[in-house]
């Protein structure tokens, strides 16, 4: 017993627990490499987190003081009371908003913790130089604050509380630059230790908050997959920095894994849109290009509209049908109807495949989750590189609520704002049917020449209703 107490008191026990915890994080995340092992991986990572929390509570002094245990319990209860129902009830179409919000609260927590750490250890001003944890603390304060406010704006845009269009001020990039300089400059002044005002840290947090708002506000909805991934990376990096400041290995490793994940996804998404991350952060996808889009719409000629019955006949007599879903499918909650159509066609002997563009939807992998929710087998979901050679062999492609990711202008029109972006080459298939609510252009505000091609027919209406109509016509045939 005495040995055990000594062991715990000498902190080896806590450190050992942290090592177990972060090993479980890594092992759990490596389970995510396949759908089959993923649920177990997630549970393993959760077990690692539980170990880390319990170990922290056993750390000497953590529960000292009469009110401390109660306040900790209060925080845990509030968090659980909010988190559990949110996770249980969120619709799969709303996952991007939820991830944005979760990024935000994580960044907010880091910023608060950095602020308090700062108040305790550095506000007095003495011998700041030697305090090694100061630089990571300031870094965490800045990045955490940017992530909190940026994520809240992203949430507002995704939830459509804020307009999805880019909101831009004149001289935006100059303002952002000044705010950035204020953040970093104040941090250097603080780290140099010549000024001791505690107010500086508040100034840093506020400047970073403004910067977070200013950076995300001008970014259009089409760029959301990149923004969410980037903010994810930010929150992770700030958590890792805070781990260095607090000498906490579990925080360092976990934060770094999240940082790596966010960075990888950011690059993948940016690559899938053929845009550089700095260009996206500098802002304005839709803003700059709204005018040429409107002009181009007029000289394209008429579009051909069709009926559910015609579509059903075309689909039923096809050998291979590819369905290209986009955010419109999510908005219309049409994924279950799509699954019914897929089943109806398969009973007629039609091969059905799904073409998933990396940035279809509002976050990485969004379409996959929606279709999984509707029980579409994941081996029918084909990634862009895999499905593009197949379009030549495809009789009919059904585009459901996708627009920009199918736009042939990305290949053929060097003047187009999305020129160079890899697309689903649906225009290579025998014929194309596009389900659309109206002739309004996509989130990016770019006109789509695909709609005016002779082999393309448009079926107007709510995607869910249209798909259900097609399905019942297919069954009646």
């Amino acid at each position: 017993m005495i040995v055990a107490t000594l062991f715990i008191q000498r902190l080896n026990f806590i450190d050992a627990c942290y090592i177990v915890a972060f090993s479980l994080f890594i092992y759990g995340m490596s389970g995510l490499t396949g759908p089959r092992t993923a649920p177990r991986g997630n549970k393993i990572a959760a077990a690692g987190m539980a170990i880390a929390i319990v170990a922290t509570l056993f750390t000497p002094h953590v529960l000292s003081g009469s009110s401390t245990p109660w306040l900790i319990a209060l925080g845990l209860v509030i968090g659980t009371a909010v988190g559990v129902p949110a996770a249980r009830n969120v619709r799969m179409t709303a996952i991007p908003q939820m991830v944005a919000l979760f990024n935000g609260v994580g960044g907010g927590a880091v910023a608060i913790i950095a602020w308090i750490e700062y108040r305790h250890h550095f506000a007095s001003g003495a011998s700041l130089w030697v305090e090694k944890s100061q630089i990571p603390t300031l870094f965490a304060a800045i990045v955490g604050s940017i992530s909190f406010w940026g994520s809240n704006i992203a949430f507002g845009k995704l939830q459509e509380i804020l307009p999805g269009r880019p909101i831009k001020l004149p001289g935006q990039s100059i303002i952002n630059g000044v705010l950035f300089v204020i953040c970093v400059g104040s941090a250097i002044v603080l780290a140099a230790g010549t000024h001791s005002q505690g107010l500086f840290i508040v100034g840093i947090l506020l400047a970073a908050a403004l910067l977070g708002n200013m950076v995300v506000l001008p970014i259009g909805g089409a760029d959301m997959p990149v923004v969410i991934s980037l903010l994810n990376a930010f929150t992770g990096l700030s958590a890792a920095a805070m781990g260095i400041a607090l000498n906490n290995t579990a925080m360092i490793v976990a934060g770094m894994i999240v940082g790596a994940s966010g960075t990888i996804l950011t690059n993948l998404m940016a690559k899938a849109m053929n845009r550089s991350v700095p260009a996206i952060v500098a802002g304005g996808f839709g803003g700059a290009i709204a005018a040429p889009a409107a002009a181009g719409a007029e000289d394209r000629g008429p579009v051909r509209s069709t009926s559910a019955q015609d579509v059903a006949i075309q689909l039923s007599y096809a050998r291979q049908v590819v369905i290209a879903p986009g955010y419109g499918m999510a908005v219309a909650q049409a994924q279950h109807a799509v699954r019914e159509l897929e089943k109806a066609l398969e009973t007629k002997g039609v091969t059905v495949k799904f073409a998933i563009h990396p940035v279809a939807g509002r976050m990485p992998g969004h379409m996959n989750v929606l279709l999984a929710e509707a029980d579409v087998p994941y081996d029918l979901l084909k990634e862009m590189d895999e499905i593009n050679p197949e379009f030549g062999r495809t009789d009919v492609t059904l585009v459901i609520g996708a627009n920009d990711v199918t736009n042939p202008a990305a290949k053929n029109e060097p003047g187009s704002p999305i020129y160079g972006m890899p697309i689903l080459e649906v225009d290579q298939s025998g014929s194309v049917i596009v389900l659309k609510r109206s002739m309004a252009s996509g989130f990016a505000g770019i006109d789509n020449p695909l709609f005016y091609e002779p082999k393309t027919a448009l079926l107007f209406g709510d995607a869910k209703q249209s798909v259900s109509d097609i399905t019942s016509e297919v069954r009646a045939l």
Partner: protein, 106 residues
């Protein structure tokens, strides 16, 4: 622990992170993001460690908020990821054989 040791851990963790995450297929990128949401909830530990040092109402309130935020991340993140991953796993009827066997064989 010295700063240099911690930076070594940081760098190694970055490499491990890149190695592990780059193997995650596109299909699972959304659960990956919500899973990493849960994992950066690890900042909860920071809130727990600092609570007993807090003085004054402001710091106590802020830390309760930070702990609540971290808990939302952890609890909400792992739960919603689990919900999603179960959707990928379950598959009643399947036309194509190979994946079917894989599922049954788990």
């Amino acid at each position: 622990m010295t700063t240099i040791t911690e930076i070594a851990i940081l760098v190694l963790a970055a490499f491990v992170g890149f190695e592990v995450i780059s193997k995650v297929p596109n299909t699972l990128h959304t659960p990956l993001m919500s899973g990493t949401n849960a994992i950066h909830g690890v900042v909860l530990l920071g809130g727990l460690l600092l609570m007993h040092e807090a003085t004054g109402v402001l710091e106590h309130v802020l830390l309760v908020i930070a702990i609540a935020f971290g808990t939302i991340n952890i609890v909400g993140g792992f739960l919603v990821t689990d919900r999603m991953l179960e959707m990928f796993k379950r598959k009643p009827e399947l036309p194509e054989g190979s994946a079917d066997k894989e599922i049954e064989g788990k």
